[in-house]
Symmetry: C2
Subunit: 513 residues, 2 copies
């Protein structure tokens, strides 16, 4: 029985069994480690012909619940990779030999995952699927196991950057699969940036037709975006869109003339452009319309506004911007101008009922911090110092600094990502609760669909365990290593091109070359 | 016409043309850069329906020449990736619109590539295939081009390590494809090492049945090895086997008891084993039989004997080895013992008519250097100092030190591999001729089929140009960059999962995720 509540508290339980075997078992464990886990050597055979997921009688959700129906189908195939057809999974036969009964205490089957959703049984099914193993003769088994599980942090994200390189939708979907296997629950879609604008806006189609690498082949249509969101939903994964401004917007300027600040050199326009022009009312009218669209396309209650790395040179060079600065009483302090800009964008998104996330730069220069909600800490150095400053200001934090996995490194670096202690700063319990989670960043300078998967996995899985599991139970790298090695083999078995941790082998090597 | 002699001197020439078009062209160039290259804006359409490779009348090889027949078929598909069937490539139709005439001045169609073979037209066909391009409407064109080409170094290798991780045969074949596209001509197969012995020996089947990661799924059968060798042959690629000893042999000991040196602790055997035991006559009888098999399975005239990183601790601990040292008059100098061992192995392989290659360690401790032939320089530091020492001793050199690509790094590191000048040491012309080439090493600690391809390509292509092209014409990283970017897109188009060099896009992104 897997019971799924506000947080997952799953008890895997075997209901009907005809043959029971005892013997040595090969459970290497589950990744990320559940909060409480008791397994016994009692081993039960599981046969794909005689295996069913069923809804419990008390379950608020019943057959027809799209999220669970799909999860049953997906996990059936994951548990039995040799089984050719998942047909009849939800049906009943005369030989009900092994039934996994699923009960849900609320019936939220059609909505989108959100910050306070239950994680909807998916993580419980994932755990169960990792417990089933094959012996040397190909028979499947599961040991009697009791699990009580829930995530340590509610926000466990992966950022993909689809501007520096375009990622085909397939590559994104494959990443969503792998995220679910490690219990990540937020796909942070850094969808546009300086190099290209692949998001095809229905309000401003020129943004992609002029700003994408190619207006037909290197774009995400509305239908592509919907596909990603609904695919993610079925895994219990939220899709957090980021439209980063006022910096990182070079590609926006191609399809939206007048949006970017013209830079000046020696008193005349140089022909180049800087950040979004914060001095023009037209800028805010454009942003209001764009974010209105974004808010309706992306159902998540969060939206990421960016706000990082704004270069003031171009603003400073522009006489109109300087006049605006004087008018507003900002003096020569361009951080005030940027704060003003972001304040406006935050107001736009608040009016759309969205909670905004910003990169730490915004917090650092923003005096009226109370208008902010969630700050993502990304700079290297003493990132816990920054976390502490943010929570002291009463704001929520997402930690990304130690998890920039786009930087290549030998895979044994996983230990560096694993031994991060996000709450190891001086602060009250209330302050620590403001750390809502963390995020793996996979920036795109050197990454596209050719190397995305091996660069992410299994290193991101190390982060996943840090964000999901109890810290005291998972403080040893040496203890985690064999379990992570085993989990990496499970990823290969599921077709995820996860790179090796060190010398060794998996029973089923990656063949999909 | 592509004429293939002792070295490739190819002139691409258009014989029969019905329609001729002039116009702007999109030739981004060829990688690696040919020795001499003149292209004109004269552009000719190339249509898969009307395109044929034919043998010239004067050609020593004619239809039925397996190497060329296969190359024609392979390159037809590479030139026209949209064309579904390569049938009829070698036939004639009534509309002979575009004929690439191939002439060979010798008829070596059935042998294996070797150190003094011509590179058999494959490299000329590769160049030609890179010259054909598609316009925005999908039509194919080639510009009138004259090329005179030959390699700077005769030995241009890639080492794959199939012991630390097992690489499925498919991954090896795919690497051979990519090697041919960059004109590499030696596959150095580091087939066995400490962690596993995947080579299934017909003489000593226990070596793999007990020493492989798995005796059935993680081995190379005789048929697998033959498949790799014959596949490589058709690309003009030599297969150089390495059976590294006396160190790096832990896995050998499992299937060949008595081969390794028992280590002692406190006067008694500790239960662990060190390098191959050089004190026993049985060792040399075993090696003679093994290398006899290896020599007949691998047709190449070179064999790599390893000889690197021998740890003397175990030899020193073993009383029988110490007695042998005294008997031989080696005193306490274990380098003499190792030299003695290698001398014996070199004699075994010489008697089998094989030229042996050893890692530089052997040269460093070997007094009677004249018995050596080819030394591979691999240690970091002043590798050109070592190259100079080796050629001064009159031995041939292969350079590997600067090209350890198994170490991950941002792809822009390609420039580090590109700006290596293998002959930039003080020495005579004769001495410089002893530098026969170089090699990319892809060791297996962190590499298997999941990440092999993006880690190799396109960084290895940078090495390929250094080893193939004229140094003066290819000394600029900035000039090479756009051409390498374009070549990397060609690799993607051919299904090679080559990682990106930097921000940007290809017309056809990698889809095979």
């Amino acid at each position: 029985m897997i019971t799924c509540g506000r947080y997952i508290r799953s008890i895997l339980y075997l209901l009907l069994l005809i043959s029971v075997q005892f013997g040595p078992h090969a459970v290497e464990g589950v990744w990320p480690l559940p909060q409480a886990f008791t397994s016994s050597p009692e081993r039960y055979p599981v046969n794909s012909q005689d295996f069913y997921f069923v809804y419990g009688r008390q379950s608020a959700a019943q057959q027809g619940c799209s999220v669970l129906d799909t999860a049953f189908k997906r996990y059936f195939s994951l548990i039995f990779p040799d089984h050719n057809s998942a047909d009849g999974v939800l049906g009943f036969s005369k030989r009900k030999l092994f039934i996994a009964e699923i009960s849900v205490d609320h019936g939220d089957c059609e909505g989108y995952p959100n910050e306070d959703s239950s994680e909807r049984c998916n993580t419980g099914l994932e755990t169960f699927s990792q417990l089933v193993y094959q012996d040397d003769f190909g028979s499947y088994f599961v040991n009697k196991t009791e699990i009580d599980d829930f995530p340590r942090f509610q926000f466990r994200g992966i950022l993909l950057d689809t501007s520096r390189h375009f990622l085909p939708v397939q590559a994104i979907l494959k990443t969503l699969d792998a995220m679910a296997y490690s219990k990540f629950n937020v796909f942070h879609w850094h969808i546009v940036d300086d190099p290209s604008f692949p998001y095809q806006s229905s309000t401003f189609p020129d943004l992609s037709s002029k700003g994408a690498f190619h207006p037909m082949t290197h774009i995400y249509t509305q239908s592509d975006v919907r596909r990603v969101i609904s695919y993610a939903r079925l895994w219990g994964i939220r899709v957090l869109p980021e439209f980063d401004s006022p910096g990182h917007t070079t590609s926006w300027g191609k399809g939206q003339p007048g949006l970017l600040t013209p830079c000046y050199k020696g008193g005349t326009p140089s022909g180049t452009f800087g950040p979004v022009n914060p001095a023009l009312p037209s800028t805010y009218r454009f942003m209001a319309r764009l974010f209105k669209e974004v808010s309706s396309v992306f159902p998540d209650s969060y939206v990421h506004l960016g706000g990082d790395e704004v270069d003031f040179h171009c603003w400073r060079s522009n006489p109109d911007v300087r006049v605006f600065m004087q008018k507003m009483g900002f003096g020569g302090d361009f951080t005030k101008l940027e704060a003003f800009y972001i304040e406006n964008i935050v107001n736009i998104t608040s009016a759309l009922n969205k909670t905004s996330i910003v990169w730490q730069d915004v917090f650092d220069y923003h005096e009226r911090r109370t208008s902010l909600s969630v700050v993502e800490v990304w700079r290297a150095g003493c990132y816990l110092c920054e976390v502490r400053r943010v929570v002291k200001a009463g704001l929520r934090v997402i930690l990304a600094s130690p998890w920039y996995l786009d930087q290549p490194g030998p895979t044994h670096n996983w230990a560096r990502y694993y031994t991060v202690w996000p709450l190891a700063f001086k602060g009250s319990e209330e302050q620590k609760k403001l750390v809502i989670g963390g995020e793996v960043c996979m920036w795109g300078e050197y990454v596209d669909a050719t190397n995305l998967t091996p660069r992410l996995w299994p290193r991101a899985s190390a982060v996943a365990e840090r964000l999901w599991s109890d810290e005291k139970q998972t403080s040893s790298v040496d203890k985690a290593f064999p379990r992570l090695q085993d989990f990496r083999c499970k990823l290969l078995r599921r077709g995820i091109q996860a790179e090796p941790l060190y010398v060794g082998h998996c029973k089923h090597e990656y063949q999909g070359i």
